[in-house]
């Protein structure tokens, strides 16, 4: 399931409800992404705003989810991504995967995050004491996503 929303979500409640009642699930893996309160150079970040491309965001996330299900035997997947203005410490993204065994759950969760970081059309602008600054894409994100290309 994919949810793109401005509202906050309850990570504990999402985890409890995720794949519940499915007796084939032996392992669930969840990643939760939060807003850091500093930039790479140490400048304090009070908040950020996430812009996205409505329509393409959902389309790309659905494609990423389909690819994960093609690669691993998954019982369920969940991607929640927020947009709009978020304060330091706020939840941004939740990715959860459920499978019979832990390897598929761990690996597919990492895969979903790595591909989401480089393919889902979201952009962050950080609000700092030194002004607003668009976050630049990191080379490391590309290389972390690229290592899944071999599979």
């Amino acid at each position: 399931m994919i949810r793109v929303q401005a509202e906050d979500f309850d990570a504990g409640a999402e985890l409890a409800a995720f794949a519940s009642g499915n007796g084939r699930v032996g392992g669930v893996c969840m990643f939760l992404g939060l807003v850091r309160d500093y930039m790479g150079d140490g400048t304090e970040v009070s908040a950020m705003t996430l812009e996205h491309y409505p329509g393409m965001t959902e389309k790309q996330l659905a494609a990423i989810e389909t690819e994960a299900r093609r690669r691993w035997p998954l019982e369920d997947t969940l991607i929640i991504h927020r947009h709009g203005r978020l304060a330091a410490g706020d939840r941004i993204v939740l990715v959860a995967t459920a499978s019979a065994h832990r390897d598929a759950a761990f690996e597919s969760c990492r895969f979903l995050m790595d591909w989401l970081k480089t393919k889902a059309p979201f952009w962050k602008i950080e609000h700092t004491s030194a002004g607003d600054r668009w976050v630049e894409a990191k080379e490391a994100d590309e290389s972390q996503a690229a290592r899944w290309n071999k599979a």
Partner: protein
């Protein structure tokens, strides 16, 4: 044809989206970029190095040689930074 801009490209373009009617010989993303550059100096500056820009046609990633035409939705944006 609908053209969309996101993040710092939207700021440069001054608009988030616009309806455009390029001449019939504009049949690829690359030709559209050149045409857009010709009608707006700010976009000419933004599109100076297309390696910094990502393109989507009808909400799928596309290269500069991808076909475009009437009714298509073409989006330009910097590399994504979600997650």
């Amino acid at each position: 044809m609908k053209v969309l801009y996101f993040a710092w490209l939207r700021t440069k373009a001054g608009v988030g989206e616009e309806e455009v009617a390029p001449p019939a010989e504009v049949t690829t993303v690359g030709a559209l970029v050149e045409w857009l550059k010709g009608r707006d100096p700010a976009l000419a500056e933004a599109f100076a190095d297309m390696r910094l820009i990502r393109v989507a046609v009808n909400q799928d990633y596309a290269g500069l040689d991808h076909c475009v035409g009437t009714g298509d939705e073409v989006a330009f944006f910097p590399p994504v930074t979600g997650g």
